[in-house]
Every structure is written in C-alpha cells, then in structure tokens.
C-alpha cells in the first residue's frame, strides 16, 4: 500500500476540539502541511486570534503569540520588525479582521508589512455562538439578526479582498474556499504562495478562505457545504484579486 498522506510534523494532534464540520481544523492542517513542505517550522511565529482559532497552539508546533481581538496585525508588525528573518503568520476570523480589527489590518496592509495573512470568512462569529459578522450575507439569520440581515440598518457584507485591493502596498490577495477537495487543494497552494511571498520579501499577502460553521449557522455539516456553494460563492467570488511579483 502506498502512503499518500501522513500527519505533518508541525501538527501536534490528529484530532481537534472543533465542532463537527468546522473549517478551522482543515485550515490549521493545511498550514501545518505548508510549514513542513517549506521547512520553516523553526522560523515561524504564529499569531493566534480571538475566536475559534485561538487554541491553534494546541495543534501547530511553532512559537505562537495569542493576540487581543483584532490586534494581531499590530502585534505581527512589531514581531516582523524585530525579526525580519522569521516567518510571521496572521490568522484571523471575520469578526477579528473585518469588525473590531479593521483599522489594524488596513494599516498593516497599507504599510506594506512583509507578512502572510490568512483570513477565515465563515460569515459569523463562531466562538461566541453565531452572531452577525460584517461578512454575514443579506438575509442570513444569526442570533443577533434573527429576522435575517437587512441592508438598511446593518449594511452590506464587507468584501475584504476587494477592499484591501485598493491599497497599493498589498501584493497578493486571493479568495479560496474549503467546501470541496478541489478547493481545499487550491487553498493549500494559496497558503504556500503567501509564505513564499514573505520568503521572497514581496510584501503583504493574504488569502481569504470561505469556511464552514455548521453549529454557528445551525445547519448540518452537509448543508454547511451547500451554503458555501449556493450562497457564499455568489457574493464572494473566488480568485486572485491581486498579484504583484
């Protein structure tokens, strides 16, 4: 029998505390694989967000700093200025990056910090139990938009790749998804890409990943996959938004 895949060395456990069907476990695994393949585990410093991914140090065996809600881009900026030879990864949810920490991400990107960012867009606040996020779709019901998000009073969902692409110092922006194997593989390639960009000193690179939150959305894991395919992809088109080499 051929072993096609085994557990990456950077990954600490093969099971996680994440809810069934949650996307964080998949994404953390992809990060671990990319770190192994590029051989950069001992040069990584990960930033953990506030939100479901805060416990990422339980799963990835690297130096980690746990940041206040939304502040990771400021923390990472300093880490990179002190250690320009290390790899600094931002890992942020949509509440983290697009609500409380909007200023920090915009300004880190605008300064052209040589950082790699992963932005997990699950259209909700997972950890606190499924409240409305800036990325919640119009009409989507959450615990704080029980009648469905309306544009009047709540605004339209923020498209982060599109927004950040207006900043000239952003160098790579791509939106991917993890609702299918094909898309998981594309996401993996994008994660490698943002690491490689940092390695080559290219500048601020981000991948936005559409991810499932079945418990937050109050649907089954299968329905969560369908929600991405049928609802989220329409509003959040996948693809490369910027690529400056």
């Amino acid at each position: 029998m051929n072993i096609v895949k085994s557990q990456p060395k950077s990954i600490i456990q093969d099971s996680t505390k994440y809810c069934p069907g949650c996307g964080h476990g998949i994404i953390l695994r992809l990060i671990g694989e990319a770190i192994d393949e590029l051989g950069i585990r001992e040069r990584m410093i990960l930033t953990a967000p506030v939100g479901c991914a805060v416990i990422l140090y339980d799963y990835i065996s690297c130096d980690v700093i746990e940041c206040a809600h939304g502040r990771a881009p400021a923390v990472a900026t300093a880490l990179k200025r002190v250690h320009p030879d290390k790899f600094i990864l931002l890992y942020q949810g949509d509440g983290d990056l697009a609500a409380i920490g909007t200023a920090e991400i915009v300004h880190a990107a605008n300064r052209g910090e040589n950082l790699s960012a992963i932005f997990v867009n699950n259209a909700t606040y997972g950890m606190t139990g499924g409240q409305m996020a800036p990325t919640t779709l119009v009409g989507q019901k959450t615990t704080t938009s029980p009648f469905g998000r309306t544009i009047k009073g709540m605004g339209k969902p923020i498209r982060v790749c599109e927004m950040l692409s207006t900043l000239e110092e952003t160098k790579y922006l791509e939106r991917t998804s993890i609702h299918s194997v094909r898309n998981i593989n594309k996401t993996k390639a994008a994660i490698r890409k943002i690491f490689q960009n940092q390695m080559n000193g290219i500048g601020f690179s981000m991948v936005e990943i559409l991810s499932m939150c079945p418990v937050g959305w109050k649907v089954s894991p299968v329905e969560a996959v369908q929600f991405i395919e049928e609802q989220m992809l329409n509003y959040y088109p996948l693809g490369v938004y910027k690529n400056v080499e």
């Binding site: 990584m44 700093i65 502040r71 900026t77 300093a78 250690h83 290390k86 920090e104 300004h107």
Partner: protein, 368 residues
C-alpha cells in the same frame, strides 16, 4: 570613534524638555522599538524618537492608533527586545486593553503617560487625574504596574533608565507618570551613562524567536481552567506584586522631623508645594514634605514611620486632581493619624495650584 566612546561613559550637562529627556534615556537604555500616536502634551517624545531611532538603526512606527501602538509593544516585547510607548490620558485609556494583556503575559515594557486634564477630551493642560487608572490596574483583571513619578527633567531621564531595568527584572509593564508641566519643562540635567540597576536579569528564554533547537514558546493570556490555570497565574502575580511592595518603595522626604505640617505631593505639584514650604519656613514655622516617587508600590512604610515619630503632625495632601492619591494616604495613615488631621487641596481643571495658594492653605491649617 574613540572620543565618542569616552563621552558615553561620562556625565554630560544637557538642556532638554522632560519629554525629550525620556526619549534620549530610552535610547541610552537600549530600547530597540518605540511605537506611538501623537497627543498633546507628549508629542515631543515621538518627534524626538522618530529621528533618534532612525539614527540608531532601530524601530520607530507612528501607529494608526494608541490601540495599535500598545499591541506593537506587546509584539516587540514578546519578540525579546526592549520597547517603549508614550501617550497622554485619552491615549492611555485606549492602551489599557493592551496593558492588561502585557501584564497577563508577564512581558516587560515601558509606558509613559504625560497626563492632561480629563475626563473625556478634557484639556491639554497638566493634570494628575490618572492616578487611579495607573495605580489600580486601569485595564481589566487583577494586575498592577510599577508607576514612577518624576518631578524634574533629571528624573524624567533617570527614571526612564530605571524603568527598563525594572520592567525586565520583574517582567511587567512599568509606567512613568509624568504630567504636562514636567513633560514641557526645559531645565538643565546631568545625562548619566546607562548603568544597569541589577547585576543579573532573568533570561528571556520565553521570547519568540522561532523554535529552532527548543520546544515552541507560547505567549498567552487565555487559561480556560479556573483552578489549574487562571487561579495559578493570579496567585503567581500576587506573589510578584507583594515582593515588589517589599523591595521597591521610593520617596523623597524634606524637613519632616518635628514638622508641624507635612505636605504630601508628587510630580509637578510637589515642586509648587516646595516653593510654598520654603516661604513658610523662613517665617519660623516648620513645614515638611513627603513625595512618593513610586506611586505603585506606594511608600506606605516610610510615611507611617514619619507619622509615628511625630504624633501631632498634620498632613496636607495636594493634587492636581480631586483627591485620588488622598485615598492611599488615608489607607496608609488610618491607624496612626486621626482623620481630622489630614487635609486636602486639589485642582480639577487641568491646571495647577500656585505657590501662593498652597501658602494660604498651609496658613489656614496653622490657625486651626
């Protein structure tokens, strides 16, 4: 080169603003990163350091906000270097989130607050109304910061040198509580070369440098288990704070033996008080002064000693706030001095008492 080396080891007489002296001291103490956002009356520090950090090939960032600046401090400290930020009252309020995280993660850093009038946008004049905020934690949770209160440009310089050492030694944030007068004051001072306060500092083996050749380091403040996690952290912090209380209480006493009245004041108001005291003392009365130089830990043992020696002494607390340090004085003296012998004179408008008004206050108390 040789000449330059020589001057580095000698005292130099300098003329600078308090805010600039803070900046130069941070350079001398080896501060590698400085992050800030402009606010009056502290803006001379970022202006000064934007130039000096560049000259020294170190890191200066004008952050997008005080929130970002303090989180940059968090990152740089975790990365293992000496780091400082400065601001004034409304900006320090914004930094409280980050200060709580830094205290929780037991990281060293220096934070300068050049206080102005408040609450709210208040005004840009000197004030001491952030005393509660700096000595009681300020952010959420059970934590303390060491708080140093300079009253001259000399002390702005010296205490900044000390602040970096204390931060590294105790692994915690150290606040310098200056005010608009002390920050803006220009006066000569001795620029001492940096000499570490301690022979040995704890190694920064917790720093994030990539995990080559060791187990990964995690800088964190989340402890979901109350009994095995957060309780242990808070017990450990409590022990550390108790140790600091026993080791670090700085104060200046002036003319306290057999005094009729002792004025208690810190920072700018202590200088104003001193002028009034000097004028009184030429009139045959005996007025002393007690000046805390560490606002936390508060020099309680020292004040109690003075009060015990002289049972009839009265105390006059002077603040550029509505009675914040007064609470520490009352707590300290509650078993030693009758409450009626403790007087208070405060200004809340973001301005200062004058030597004449302090003189009047003292005269009133003398008549009672």
């Amino acid at each position: 080169m040789a000449d330059e080396k020589k001057t580095e080891t000698q005292d130099k007489q300098m003329l600078m603003k308090g805010n600039e002296a803070v900046g130069e001291a941070s350079i001398k103490a080896g501060c590698y990163c400085y992050f800030a956002y402009p606010i009056t009356p502290q803006t001379e520090t970022p202006e000064y350091l934007s130039k000096r950090m560049e000259e020294e090939n170190r890191v200066f960032i004008q952050a997008e906000s005080e929130v970002a600046a303090i989180n940059m401090v968090f990152g740089a400290s975790a990365a293992g270097v000496r780091v400082m930020t400065s601001s004034s009252s409304p900006g320090i309020s914004l930094k409280q989130e980050g200060i709580s995280y830094i205290a929780g993660a037991e990281l060293p850093c220096v934070i300068v607050n050049v206080c102005r009038g408040g609450p709210g946008l208040g005004n840009i004049e000197a004030s001491q109304a952030d005393y509660f905020q700096s000595t009681r934690g300020g952010g959420h949770g059970d934590y303390r910061c060491i708080v140093l209160a300079p009253n001259s440009v000399q002390e702005c310089y010296d205490m900044t040198l000390n602040a970096f050492d204390l931060a590294d030694y105790y692994r915690m944030p150290v606040l310098i509580q200056s005010d608009g007068i002390i920050g803006q004051l220009v006066e000569p001072f001795q620029m001492h070369p940096y000499k570490p306060m301690f022979d040995k500092f704890p190694p920064k083996d917790w720093a994030l440098t990539g995990c080559a050749g060791r187990k990964p380091n995690v800088v964190r403040t989340l402890y979901l288990n109350p009994a095995n996690g957060l309780e242990l952290l808070n017990r450990k912090l409590e022990q550390k704070y108790n140790k600091i209380k026993s080791e670090l209480r700085w104060c200046e006493t002036y003319n306290c033996d057999n005094a009729d009245i002792i004025v208690i004041a810190y920072g700018a108001s202590s200088r104003i008080a001193k002028s009034a005291i000097k004028k009184h003392n030429t009139n045959g009365t005996k007025i002393g002064m007690f000046r805390p130089k560490t606002l936390w830990p508060w020099p309680d043992v020292e004040l109690v000693d003075i009060a015990r020696k002289n049972k009839n002494v009265k105390f006059l607390v002077i603040e550029m706030s509505m009675g914040q340090m007064l609470e520490d004085v009352l707590l300290t003296l509650m078993d030693v001095v009758p409450k009626k012998n403790i007087y208070f004179y405060g200004m809340g408008g973001g301005w200062n008492p004058t030597p004449d008004s302090v003189y009047e206050k003292i005269s009133e108390i003398m008549k009672k």
